[in-house]
């Protein structure tokens, strides 16, 4: 029997999955500690760090001064000196204050020590969306992080990956940026009870299809799966590929899928210009130019800043309807009537404020 099938699972939320990974890994390895602004307050980073302080004590779980740059350098100093730090940012946008440490120091430290020092450092940063988060609480920036040699970057979409990718990140001896999505925190799904790592650099096919491939990241995966379900009713078979790991990249999985379907839409949860979507498109053209049945299409954030008000915010993001229309255009289908469709949004449950 397939080993995978025998794994005991339980239906839990993305937030609980993250929390479980932290509990299980910190239990396993005393050198892991987690810290950052508000990590140990009563809200516990949307519940993701719940119970850690009580279980592991204030030396291993602590809130910090508002000093992002120094605190990332602090993590680097601890990492090269025998510990495995997990630095948490409640929004990706705040991690920008630590860019000097991330790019000039963390990313190059192993290289700059000629391999003598290792940097087993995890940075968890949460992408915001909805309830008027606006342009300083909603960035994802995976393209930017993945551009830097020496950093690994992952974007878990499913609860199982939220747990499995975090476990892999913690066990890796390289710095890993884990970009969680706030709107996914309440998503529930089956998750292995045991700490099973999701390997970095392995993508997954979330829905098998034959007519067209949608490669999506982070919250756009949710939109893509929804779009695929609606299109299925019209007899269109969409394959949804979630790379999960931006770097290292599972290029093979992506190329195979696009080779099979011949059509490709990339829905990256980021800006498109100089972005991860451009990287994917290039790689697809390099490998498959003569096998594509249509040009690769890229969708992402509007090339501006994310507005607060809902009607404009809707325009800023790519949603399921955008994806359905894109598929129709690509496959030269008539526009289907979507007036009877209800597009479930996790945001329906989200009353903010943050």
């Amino acid at each position: 029997m397939n080993k995978q099938l025998k794994l005991a699972t339980k239906k839990i939320s993305y937030r609980t999955a993250i929390n479980q990974a932290l509990h299980q890994e910190m239990e396993r390895d005393n050198s892991i500690f987690t810290y950052g602004i508000d990590v140990a307050d009563h809200k516990r980073i949307f519940g993701s760090t719940t119970g850690l302080l009580e279980t592991f004590g204030p030396q291993r779980v602590f809130s910090t001064p508002l000093s992002e740059e120094a605190l990332l350098g602090f993590g680097l100093g601890a990492a090269i000196n025998g510990l495995r730090p997990i630095n948490v940012h409640i929004r990706v946008d705040f991690l920008l204050l630590a860019i000097n440490q991330l790019v000039n120091m963390v990313a190059s430290y192993h290289y700059g020590s000629d391999g003598k020092l290792q940097v087993p450092l995890v940075i968890r940063a949460i992408i915001g969306k909805g309830w008027g988060q606006s342009y300083q609480h909603s960035k994802s920036l995976q393209s930017f992080f993945a551009h830097i040699p020496g950093l690994k970057v992952v974007m878990p979409t499913t609860p199982a990956d939220a747990k499995g990718l975090l476990i892999s990140a913690i066990r890796d001896n390289n710095p890993v940026v884990v970009l969680e999505h706030r709107m996914l925190y309440d998503v529930e799904d089956e998750v292995p009870i045991k700490p099973i790592p999701t390997p970095l650099g392995k993508g997954q096919i979330l829905k098998i299809g034959t007519d067209i491939t949608i490669i999506a990241t982070s919250y756009s995966v949710v939109s893509a799966v929804q779009a695929a379900k609606v299109l299925e009713k019209q007899g269109v078979s969409v394959e949804v590929v979630d790379p999960r790991s931006i770097f290292p990249l599972d290029e093979n999985l992506i190329i195979k899928s696009v080779e099979k379907t011949g059509h490709c839409i990339i829905a990256d949860y980021d800006w498109t210009f100089c972005g991860f979507s451009a990287e994917l498109a290039t790689r697809i053209y390099e490998k498959l130019s003569h096998k594509l049945k249509s040009e690769v299409m890229r969708l992402g954030f509007a090339p501006t800043h994310c507005p607060s008000t809902r009607p404009l915010e809707n325009e800023f993001y790519t949603d399921s309807i955008d994806l359905i229309r894109a598929v129709e255009k690509k496959l030269k289908l008539k526009e289907m009537d979507l007036s009877q469709e209800t597009f479930y949004s996790y945001e329906n449950q989200f009353r903010g404020p943050f």
Binding site: S31, F33, Q59, T64, P65, S67, E69, A70, L71, L72, G73, F74, G75, L76, G77, A78, A79, I80, N81, G82, L83, P85, N100, Q101, N104, M105, Y109, H110, Y111, G112, S113, D114, G115, K116, L117, Q118, V119, P149, G150, K152, D172, N173, N174
Partner: protein, 324 residues
Amino acid sequence: MNRKKIILNLFKKAYLIRTTEELIIKHYDNNEMKTPMHMSMGEEAIMAGVCTALGKNSQTFGTYRSHGLYLAVTEETDKFFAEMYGKVTGVLKGKSGSMHLLSPSDGLLGISAVVGSTIPLAVGAAFANIYLKKKQITTVFFGDGAVDEGVFWESLNIACSKGLPVLFVCEDNGYAVHTPLSARRGYKSLTNIVKQYSCSVFETDSTDAEQIYKLSLEAINSIQKKHRPAFLHLKYYRYLEHVGVHEDFHAGYRTKLEFMEWQKKDPVKLLRNKLKDVKVKDMDIIELEERINKQVEESLQKAKKAPFPDPSELLKNTFYEQTA
């Protein structure tokens, strides 16, 4: 350690730094050492004094003005010169040049070309030592310019709020590149501000390595006794231009007269005189100097002859590759 031994140790380090840099000056204009050099000349007393006080079991971080620290901590010159020449036998196989030397086996955990950027690493390393119940102290050297950076204050605050065993050493030469303190500071006294933190503060403008050694011991003692960081503020005069191996008095932002005043209390000269105080024979001094001259000269020759790294080195260690 008796005084004679201490003075000898201090002199060895200071003389090694001075001699190494004098040799660099002699050869730099041959354009074979292609790396930006921020010379330590003038600050030998700081590196000799603090590092002798720290002893073997300690961890250090520094800045691109790296030669003094690297040589004081390692006392080796083969890998050092090879690194300056970009050779595969260098400290980091020629990947780092002058500005990012390190030597983890000697406790030297990092040097960075970005001003202020190793300061928080020292704080994190000190946290790790407490966490792992190691008794080491972590020392970080930085210039007066680094104090202008927010990260210095962030790091000081974190170290003080957690009571970490960090020795902050500000090597104050009065300039950040060519801009003097007076043009950069909206306050009167750095040490008066640092005294407001939960931190012991020590300062001197002496170029006497023995005095700096003693002050460092006091600072180290205070860290161990009071379980909180210490801040050591040390003044010195940078003999050469900010980057490069030449004098720059012609530029007019500082005067040769000023330099000559400092030169009267040149740290290496002071130490050499002290060797006589502690009754080291002239013969022995000369022998020691010649041994170091020879070490340094041989290292330079070896470095020149060594091969460059193979192109296959380029991508190595970008990532740590797990070998399961």
